[in-house]
Amino acid sequence: MSNVATLKIKRGSDAGAARWETFGVPFELGQSVLDGLRWLRSHKDPSLAIRFSCINANACKECMIQLDGETVYACTARLEPREMTLTPLPNKKLVRDLVTEIAPPSERFK
């Protein structure tokens, strides 16, 4: 079965000057939002920034974003055949696109 999710993504590195971009992403039922974002990067736009490491195991906790205003891990949230709005975490400093500064202060480079 083939489906398309419409990902509406808030982009940019300046919180005051964000832009919205919308992409259609094909997927198989059961795939994650991170699967869709990785497909997007290799097929449409490699400049899209998303922080992730373990991809699948829900172990690294790096892919935290908001989906339709709710905080989720992109690697466990499911793609659905509808418009899905993806935004960076609102309470963290924006780095770029869906990436925010999430490391504890003692582990940051200063």
């Binding site: 590195s13 198989e28 899209l48 690697c75």
Partner: protein, 436 residues
């Protein structure tokens, strides 16, 4: 374990942590390692670090393969850093595959190697695409006792897929349908609920599994105190080569991480006490910083390089032609593909660092350019060493040379000579040079 380590480190005020730094190159000074150069991923700022001692703890190379059990940072960075700094790699042809990595249906939130203990406990049955048992064709029955070795399971699944009898996604079925719901609950516990959330009901359906790249036996040459050949450079964990021979026994990787980690730390600390001061040599540090910033003599590449697609292309080459079952023809084809990708990548990253504030904040294309630079070097080392070893041994199986040969009871070493990889140790004692 990582929690314990974090807690202990947090209590020590002398330990300074700096996250999101990507190291592009080690800096050598008269044959000793004097530190490293990279950039801060979040801001894009170049970074140079002087160090009396440096420990490589980058893990292995399993990200080189399409299906793997690794996180995205396992692209062989430590091997490439060590090679370019002048160190030697050993046993690079030996990549271990885990036979029953999860393949389908899509299973999120769980480790892809999760099925092993359950197959062991419950006698999960391996079936081909026609729902037939098949491991007996390869010398081991599915008798519920789980006596099939990992390598034989990998071989049997590959051969069924090759013969057109694979499962729909190109692997085999793993079935627990002979188990009752209560037996499954007793063995899997809360995992059953997570499977249900993934719409997987093991009493009514099999899952699909396939061999996935899991561990690399090869790596950087280090002595028993975890000192590499380069003074000032130490190594720990999977990045170290040679401790596991041609294959690894289950359970040894975690032991290796702990023992080698402690030894490397002790050795590095001892060296730091002996050295009064360590500065970075200006000339080679400047050259490394120039590359990070995108300056320098090398050919520039198009800013439209799709680095994410290039990584997938390399993973396909490695999975198809440098997997667990190899032939000379496939390995040569892989080396040609690696050459093409290397030419496409060019000699410096796309564009130059922007002077605009946050102009290069979390620039994944830049990161992937440096990842590919390392991945391509390491992929070439694996393929060339595999091509040179014309026999079969452990995790390196040549279908055109199926026997283990006594003259090959020896190790191959890889070094960088100019831009070419030099492999030594073959029984003919003739060094093979890379095609330029």
């Amino acid at each position: 374990m990582s929690k314990t380590l974090r807690t202990v480190m947090a209590r020590n005020p002398d330990i300074r942590k700096a996250g999101d730094i990507c190291i592009a190159d080690l800096v050598a000074d008269g044959g000793e390692i004097a530190g490293a150069v990279g950039w801060h991923l979040d801001s894009g700022a170049p970074v140079a670090i002087a160090a009396k001692a440096t420990v490589l703890a980058t893990g292995g190379l399993t990200r080189l393969y399409r299906r793997n059990s690794a996180s995205t940072n396992m692209g062989g960075d430590g091997y490439a850093l060590a090679l370019r700094a002048g160190a030697t790699l050993i046993d690079m042809e030996f990549v271990q595959f885990f036979p029953i990595g999860h393949l389908a249906p899509r299973l999120v939130g769980m480790d892809p190697i999760m099925w092993d203990p359950f197959r062991y406990k419950l006698g999960g049955r391996l079936l081909n695409g026609r729902m037939e048992e098949f491991t007996s064709r390869y010398g081991s029955d599915e008798d519920g006792k789980y006596v099939l070795t990992r390598d034989l399971a990998t071989y049997a699944i590959f051969k069924e897929v090759e013969a057109g009898r694979g499962s729909p996604h190109g692997g085999a079925y793993l079935s627990f349908e002979h188990c009752s719901a209560s037996a499954l609950r007793a063995a899997f516990g809360p995992v059953i609920d997570r499977l249900t959330a993934n719409k997987i009901d093991l009493t009514r359906m099999p899952v699909e599994v396939a061999p996935i790249a899991h561990y690399h036996m090869g790596g950087v040459v280090a002595d028993a105190r975890m000192r590499t050949e380069l003074p000032g450079l130490f190594a720990a964990g999977e990045v170290v080569g040679g401790a596991n021979g041609a294959n690894r026994l289950s359970g040894n990787a975690i032991t290796e991480a702990l023992v080698f980690g402690r030894r490397a730390g002790t050795s590095a600390a001892a060296r730091v006490k002996q050295i009064a001061r360590r500065d970075l040599p200006p000339k080679s540090t400047r050259a490394a910083l120039d590359l990070v910033a995108g300056y320098g003599a090398g050919s520039p590449v198009s800013g439209n390089l799709n680095t994410a697609a290039m990584i997938e292309h390399l993973q396909a080459i490695m999975a198809d032609d440098v997997g667990p079952f190899r032939t000379g023809a496939k390995l040569k084809r892989a080396l040609d593909g690696i050459d093409e990708l290397t030419a496409e990548l060019g000699e410096r990253p796309p564009g130059v660092l922007s002077s605009r504030a946050n102009g290069n904040a979390f620039d994944l294309q830049r990161l992937e350019w440096f990842d590919l630079r390392n991945m391509l070097t390491v992929a070439r080392a694996v393929a060339q060493a595999a091509l040179s070893r014309d026999e079969s041994r452990g995790a390196h199986q040549r279908e055109d040379y199926p026997q283990a040969l006594p003259q090959w009871r020896r190790r191959q070493r890889v070094r960088l000579a100019g831009d070419a990889l030099q492999i030594t140790g073959a029984p003919s004692a003739v060094a093979s040079m890379a095609p330029s």
